[in-house]
């Protein structure tokens, strides 16, 4: 029983961390129709920034700074790598995203020397707490709560403010919203800023729970978060969050199965199997709107 609770708890927390990344994917895809392959690596860079900054300054300064720099990074990436290709075919933008991801990974390898880096102990998050007889870290409890608060805030932003209205308009129809006087580039920048900020928060939570960061550490969580976004229906924020929680829980259950079966290799593969099943049977995802192609 205690084992089940601990598996579930860590599943929910992993799911929450994926959710924070998945929102970035779903927002960008909703507006640009682009799988932002570099998003997972932005997440990894945020983790590395966390290590370097916490080494030199107190936590309450370094973490906001991490978020700030990550936001700036996301903004720059969009500006430099995606904006020049706005009118190019979708495939070129995706290739550009892969190129950015390659660049970030290689730069991270260069800076860290390829060594796995240990994430610093963040005072409150890493301390343990006793839940229903199982020892766990505070971050595990805090993640889902934080995710729900952030998603609520984001939902308010999208549904109640002018910027949010513009974002919805742009994701519905690029050209028409431009004709209505919406500054498309500004809105896209805002999207990247929000996505990167959430990825930075996610990285603090994610890497507190993990022993080390390697330059490749962002690729897999990134892809999984994208699958979560597809699973929930791309473009839908609640969908992405629910999808991320489901994937996180399933993954930890698979990892927690008896080691005699030796199925933990499949924890990553399972996510992709789920993706393929979803794409075949319900391509619009759980909460997505079915799109019709115009000839």
């Amino acid at each position: 029983m205690e084992y089940v609770i601990s598996v579930l708890l860590s599943g929910i927390s992993v799911g929450g961390q994926y959710a924070l990344i998945a929102i970035g994917y779903t927002l960008v895809y909703g507006i640009l129709r682009l799988i932002n392959f570099a998003h997972g690596d932005v997440f990894m860079v945020a983790g590395l920034l966390g290590i370097y900054l916490t080494a030199t300054m107190p936590v309450y300064v370094s973490i906001p700074l991490v978020i700030l720099i990550t936001v700036f990074l996301g903004f720059i990436i969009e500006r430099a790598a995606y904006r020049p290709l706005r009118s190019a075919p979708r495939m070129s933008v995706m290739i550009s995203a892969i190129g950015v991801s390659y660049l970030l990974q290689n730069t991270a390898t260069y800076v860290t020397g390829g060594q796995p880096m240990t994430y610093p102990v963040i005072p409150f998050l890493s301390s343990t707490v006793n839940v229903a007889g199982t020892q766990t870290k505070w971050v595990v409890i805090l993640t889902p709560i934080l995710v729900l608060v952030l998603v609520y805030a984001l939902n308010m932003l999208i549904n109640k403010t002018k910027v949010g209205m513009a974002m919805r308009a742009v994701s519905k129809d690029f050209e028409t919203s431009r004709l209505m006087g919406i500054r498309i580039n500004a809105i896209i920048s805002v999207t990247f800023v929000i996505g990167s900020a959430l990825a930075a928060v996610g990285s603090v939570l994610f890497f507190t729970n993990y022993p080390a960061i390697t330059p490749m550490a962002g690729a897999m969580p990134g892809l999984k978060a994208f699958v979560a976004a597809v699973f929930g229906g791309i473009g839908s924020i609640p969908g992405a969050v629910i999808g991320a929680f489901i994937i996180g829980i399933c993954e930890t259950i698979i990892k927690g199965l008896p080691s005699a079966w030796d199925v933990s290799v499949f924890s990553d593969a399972f996510t992709f199997a789920l993706l393929i099943v979803i794409l075949i049977f319900k391509p619009q995802g759980l909460f997505g709107e079915a799109a019709t192609d115009k000839v």
């Binding site: 290739i95 260069y110 490749m216 892809l223 699958v227 992709f272 199997a273």
Partner: protein, 398 residues
């Protein structure tokens, strides 16, 4: 008549290329005291071998991405299938015990090499024949397994559009990688460990009775296999099927309206591309002398995709040129960036392990952003026409 001449010119071109390659790798044994570049251990030959292997994979990816317009990212998965098929079929029986020692031997006690060795003999000319035939069959089977899996995967996946197709094929590659690393299949795949002990490129070097190398063919072999495969792909692209592929790329709806069966042609392109990716994977296993699932990650697919983009999406010769440039830069020419360099007494800043890849990815980004046509755009270098030009020029001189 003109076409026939063109074809014969192409064959002459390839024959010249092969001769140059063989000459180059044997130069050091004819003329002693050559600079290090021409020694068999020089990076030149590493580059040539690796680039020959990669160019086949790049062209196979280009067939799918550039000529049929299917954005697939599953190439590493199909390479993995090819590499493992080749490795499992070719490890000699007496080595299996040693390779699979963690799992107490191999469940699959068969080796093509032994089978043909039993027919033609294991040494001398018979040994050479059995080696060549078994290698050839193993390469074809490697492609066939990859093609068969592509067929199975294609049935559900090819209905998807652009980026969904990309992510689904990427997912399949990851699933395949997980399956091959599964310890329960260890008796066949050797789990997460590598399979080795099978014939590699250097097994094709001709040695005399005392074991000294007489004629090196280890660079020629990948060149030959890749050239033949690329030639087949080019013939396919120039056939009516190739035209159908291009029409699907340019406009699916119009192509369908003209009576081209979308699914059939997409499947054909997907299976053929995967077949050659499988052959390329087998060649890759020969190049690195082992087969290990860990090597075939999505990073490898990205690398090949970037090569295709640098060469020009939709250009076979572009892909080949880009592969040689890419591999030469990453394995050889830019190596100096990874270690500290001094110009006179001045220590060049920033140079340290990993800097090469940073410079490299910046260059790639510049190409992707500002030269999106790549080296060749959609154009081709026509070897036949090129040779014709040269020959007519020399005639005019006379």
């Amino acid at each position: 008549m003109e076409q026939k001449k063109n074809i014969s010119r192409i064959f002459i071109g390839f024959a010249i290329l092969f001769l140059i390659v063989i000459l180059l790798e044997n130069l050091s044994s004819f003329i002693p005291g050559l600079p290090q570049v021409f020694q068999p251990t020089s990076p030149l030959f590493t580059v040539l071998k690796k680039a020959a292997v990669y160019s086949l994979v790049a062209v196979s990816m280009n067939l799918l991405n550039g000529f049929t317009g299917l954005f697939s990212l599953g190439q590493a998965g199909f390479m993995l299938l090819g590499a493992y098929t080749y490795a499992i079929l070719m490890v000699p029986s007496d080595q299996k015990e040693q390779v699979y020692y963690l799992f107490g031997g191999c469940a699959f006690n068969f080796s093509l090499l032994d089978m043909f060795g039993g027919i033609f003999g294991k040494t001398g000319v018979g040994g050479a024949i059995s080696m060549i035939i078994s290698c050839l069959i193993a390469l074809i089977l490697a492609g066939a397994v990859a093609g068969f899996f592509a067929y199975l995967i294609g049935i559900p996946v090819l209905r998807l559009k652009s980026d969904y197709l990309a992510i689904a094929t990427l997912g399949f590659a990851e699933i395949l990688r997980a399956i091959f690393q599964w310890q329960k299949l260890g008796k066949i795949t050797n789990g997460a460990n590598m399979i080795k002990g099978f014939p590699t490129f250097s097994s094709f070097n001709i040695t005399n009775a005392s074991g000294a190398t007489i004629l090196r063919l280890s660079t020629f072999v990948p060149f030959l296999v890749s050239s033949v495969c690329i030639l087949i792909i080019v013939l396919l692209i120039n056939s009516s099927y190739g035209r159908a592929f291009k029409s699907i790329r340019d406009d699916e709806i119009a192509a369908e309206a003209m009576g081209i069966s979308l699914f059939k042609h997409k499947m054909l392109s997907f299976v053929i591309s995967s077949f050659f990716a499988g052959v390329g994977g087998a060649l890759f296993a020969m190049y690195v002398a082992n087969a290990q699932a860990k090597a075939f990650t999505s990073v490898m697919t990205y690398e090949i995709l970037l090569i295709v983009v640098i060469g020009g999406v939709g250009s076979v010769s572009g892909s080949v040129i880009a592969t040689f440039l890419y591999v030469a830069c990453s394995e050889w020419w830019l190596r100096f960036l990874d270690s500290e360099q001094y110009i006179g007494g001045f220590k060049v800043p920033l140079l340290r392990n990993g800097f090469r890849m940073v410079v490299f990815s910046v260059v790639i980004m510049v190409i992707v952003l500002f030269f999106s046509q790549g080296i060749m755009g959609g154009n081709e270098i026509n070897i036949g026409a090129f040779l014709k030009k040269i020959s007519s020029k020399s005639e005019r001189k006379r």
